[in-house]
């Protein structure tokens, strides 16, 4: 767990909520739900040591491995 990254992301998320909430008030519940859930996913991801973790980028690289080997030859 990286506290600095997590806390700064949480701080940014609060700023975003404060900035967008007044405008979102008259909009549908779906819009609010989308904003909050996207922020929560972002917050969740910021807790990990992402640079050393397997993720979309390394999965795609593994998926295209045969073609990647052709490029390295």
């Amino acid at each position: 767990m990286k506290w600095a990254a997590f806390l700064s992301t949480a701080f940014i998320a609060i700023l975003i909520i404060l900035y967008e909430w007044p405008k979102l008030k008259q909009k549908s519940a779906k819009d609010k739900l989308a904003l909050v859930s996207l922020l929560l996913i972002g917050l969740l991801l910021s807790m990990f040591h992402l640079q050393e973790m397997a993720g979309p980028t390394s999965w795609i690289e593994a998926f295209f491995r045969p073609l990647g080997e052709f490029m390295e030859r």
């Binding site: 992301t9 940014i12 998320a13 975003i16 900035y19 967008e20 405008k23 979102l24 909009k27 549908s28 779906k30 819009d31 989308a34 904003l35 996207l38 922020l39 996913i41 972002g42 991801l45 910021s46 992402l50 640079q51 050393e52 973790m53 397997a54 993720g55 979309p56 980028t57 390394s58 795609i60 690289e61 998926f63 295209f64 073609l67 990647g68 490029m71 390295e72």
Partner: protein, 373 residues
């Protein structure tokens, strides 16, 4: 959802820096690794996938006018499969945007802001682009139009100043090992050309929709011409050593010493890079934000611009610990991933759409009361 309108010229000026900005810096050396001294031909071969991609995007938009890929993929192959296709596109665009931000920041930190933490460079660029995307498509289009001189003039000045140093004999031998090495070298720039599919997100908002195809094709040609000129200049100055440089155009710019006065021209490259990366990230970011909002069927894309910004910074870091990882990904995986998502998938969608439209028409002409499905 998007009330702004852009002209097709603005679309062209949004797309041109989008492809050229990152392609002129790192790509010449990558291409030179495969094609040796023939790497100036590779952008020409690679451009065919660009023409194809623009053609597919425009054709699909003609069948489903006023919609983006996220919307019409649901109409073509049904709701759930369409959602899956939409998810593939969105995950692709979020991840690619993150990697572009990382690439931009790696270059800035590597060459200029050596002591600055990379997260600061990345986050400030994403914040800036988030404001532009939040402002809407019209602002982005006008900004791109405004910035095009800042993007083009330094390039022209650079080419004029480097002219006395060009060694034209570096071009030989031409095609010493046949046509295969430049063809293999064209795979990586081909990945960049597939990014032209972004016009799928811009076409619905054109004022002059009929010119979309022409301007799209012209942009592909302009990108090809720029890349060929850049590659030739790099080849004429650096010769066979191009493949050993990380950013060959930077080396060319540092090489300039004109009348003992015009030196340290790398600041020009910096100007091109920052402006180009800004337009590029904004266009990708816009496509991501609009696409996500359409995918989730929201009323507006503006609120979700900010959380997507966080996503973009996160994917810029995810499983990439240094610039070597990034370059390996850009060579080994991105060209294929980009071609699969941005050219093959649209091609499939277009074929399915054309076949099902034909069936519908046949049914309508043959039977009057047959159910429509």
């Amino acid at each position: 959802m998007e009330k702004g309108k852009i002209s097709s010229l603005q679309m062209a000026f949004m797309l041109y820096p989008t492809i050229v900005a990152t392609a002129i810096l790192g790509i010449p050396s990558v291409t030179a690794k495969f094609a040796k001294t023939d790497f100036w031909m590779s952008p020409i071969f690679a451009s065919f996938i660009g023409y194809l991609t623009v053609y597919l995007a425009v054709k699909l938009h003609k069948l489903y006018p006023g919609q983006t890929i996220i919307q019409y993929s649901e109409q073509i192959i049904g709701r759930w499969l369409g959602k899956i296709i939409g998810f593939l596109f969105l995950s692709f665009y979020i991840q690619v945007t993150g990697l572009i931000v990382r690439e931009y920041a790696e270059f800035v930190v590597d060459s200029f802001l050596i002591d600055t933490p990379i997260i600061v460079v990345m986050a400030s660029m994403v914040l800036l682009c988030a404001f532009v995307v939040h402002g809407g498509l019209e602002g982005l289009g006008r900004g791109a139009l405004l910035f095009i001189p800042v993007f083009l003039i330094p390039q022209i000045i650079l080419f004029i100043l480097v002219f006395p140093d060009l060694e034209f004999k570096n071009i030989f031998p031409v095609l010493a090992n046949g046509v295969m090495p430049p063809l293999k070298g064209s795979i990586v720039p081909g990945g960049w050309y597939t990014e032209f599919f972004l016009i799928s997100f811009l076409l619905p908002f054109l004022v002059d929709k009929k010119k979309g195809m022409r301007y799209g094709m012209m942009t592909v040609f302009a990108v090809m011409a720029t890349l060929v000129i850049v590659n030739l200049v790099v080849l004429f100055v650096l010769g066979p050593t191009t493949s050993s440089k990380v950013y060959p155009l930077m080396n060319v710019a540092r090489y300039i010493s004109f009348a003992d006065f015009f030196e340290h021209m790398e600041s020009f490259i910096m100007a091109i890079w920052v402006v180009g990366a800004f337009v590029k990230i904004s266009v990708f970011f816009y496509a991501t934000a609009l696409g996500t909002a359409q995918w989730l069927k929201l009323t507006d894309y503006r609120p979700i611009v900010w959380p997507l910004g966080i996503f973009i910074v996160i994917t810029g870091f995810w499983s990439i610990s240094n610039s070597m990882d990034l370059e390996r990904y850009n060579v080994n995986a991105f060209p294929f991933y980009g071609a699969v998502i941005q050219t093959l998938l649209p091609l499939l969608l277009l074929l399915i759409a054309m076949i099902s439209n034909k069936n519908k028409k046949n049914k309508q002409s043959n039977t009057t009361d047959a159910p429509m499905k």
